[in-house]
């Protein structure tokens, strides 16, 4: 009887140790950060950021497609405003012009099954890499999703997919949907480090470094 209890205790101990070991598995923040940098390339691209706008609810036009230099931008033409509901319902609905598919006419309106601004708490326009990184992890500001659910959102949402299929003449977002999902899962597995967090980690590692050995 005592032996059985002892073996059970050992088994529990080993199991708990294993679980802790998995949780504490060493992560490489630099690798995670390098992956995040690719994700930031995507989310800060005009195909994404132009509609992840702040409280003014005004979509932006930026990018070479509009004849603008890098860094230049303007508001969406014709005083378009998505309103607080972000569909333009109370003034001019987004889908008055943006239909369910891309227009195949040069400079015709792009389209997807649903066309709208992203919710205001998901603002990416002119936000830093660190700010977007923290936002995308925060369920209060990412639609109540955990990281895997964000990855699934990237994998399944038609309007997100439009970023890589934006119609004739428009530069698509970098990489591909499949790569974006892989990047996101890889970044999450690395502990979802954000640039500011990495700086703190780097400072910590530098503080802990042994002094150089004298020649």
């Amino acid at each position: 009887m005592m032996l059985t209890r002892f073996l059970i205790l050992i088994a529990f101990t080993l199991s708990a140790t294993s679980a802790i070991a998995q949780e504490d598995a060493p992560i490489d923040p630099q690798e995670g950060l390098a992956t995040w940098a690719k994700i930031f390339e995507i989310v800060s691209h005009p195909r994404c950021a132009n509609c992840h706008v702040p409280e003014d609810n005004r979509p932006r036009w930026s990018g070479a497609h509009y004849g603008l230099e890098e860094g230049e931008w303007r508001y969406h033409g014709m005083n378009v405003n998505g309103g607080e509901d972000r569909f333009g319902t109370m003034t001019l609905a987004c889908n008055a012009c943006h239909q369910q598919e891309n227009s195949d006419v040069p400079h015709g309106p792009p389209g997807a099954h649903v066309w709208m601004l992203a919710p205001v708490e998901m603002v990416w326009w002119q936000k830093s890499s660190g700010e977007i990184c923290e936002q995308i992890k925060d369920p209060e500001r990412n639609g109540g999703r955990n990281l895997e659910e964000v990855a699934e959102h990237i994998d399944h949402d038609h309007l997100v997919h439009w970023g890589w299929d934006p119609g004739p003449g428009r530069e698509p977002a970098p990489y591909s949907r499949k790569e974006a999902v892989e990047f996101f899962r890889s970044w999450a597995a690395a502990g979802a480090p954000c640039p500011d967090v990495a700086e703190a980690t780097q400072d910590y590692l530098e503080d802990q470094a042994l002094p150089e050995t004298a020649e």
Binding site: V80, T91, L92, A96, S103, V105, H107, G108, P109
Partner: protein, 153 residues
């Protein structure tokens, strides 16, 4: 495909990707909606689809199969003008008139969802309907006039 335009049912034999404006003008002979830019930038082709203002030049016909389409011809009649049409005449909005069917359709749909608009609301709703004659002050006045009519003021 089946289309209902101004309350009348039509069977049209067209490709799904033909723009609705082409169906209206070339197949059905309904020429109130105008061709302006062809890329949803000017608003001259605006019609109502299930009550919502939309740019018919950029709506594929296949997308509105079974929907109810209203053009300027079906908004009111000479005997019973829609409030926006009546306001348009009172304010003498039109100059060349090419954009006005789209303007009126946009204004009518807008007032159905926002019956008491501010000047800013009007500007946001109507700015995507271009008028090369520059009648914008009269357009705004007519929209406010129509809003008052619809409110019974």
């Amino acid at each position: 495909m089946q289309l209902t335009v101004n309350g009348q049912n039509y069977n049209v034999d067209v490709e799904d990707d033909m723009p609705l404006l082409w169906v209206l003008r070339d197949e059905l002979g309904i020429t109130g909606p105008k061709y302006g830019c062809g890329i949803a930038m000017c608003g001259a082709c605006t019609v109502h689809i299930d009550g919502q203002a939309m740019r018919s030049c950029s709506v594929p016909a296949g997308q509105v199969d079974g929907s109810e389409v209203t053009t300027i011809e079906g908004l009111g009649s000479p005997e019973a003008l829609h409030a926006v049409q009546a306001a348009w005449i009172e304010e003498q909005v039109a100059q060349c008139g090419y954009c006005q069917s789209g303007q009126i359709m946009a204004a009518a749909a807008f007032l159905s969802i926002n019956p008491e608009p501010t000047d800013s609301d009007i500007d946001q709703a109507m700015s995507a309907n271009l008028c090369r004659c520059g009648t914008y002050p009269r357009i705004r006045a007519a929209v406010k006039n129509a809003a008052a009519k619809l409110q019974g003021v």
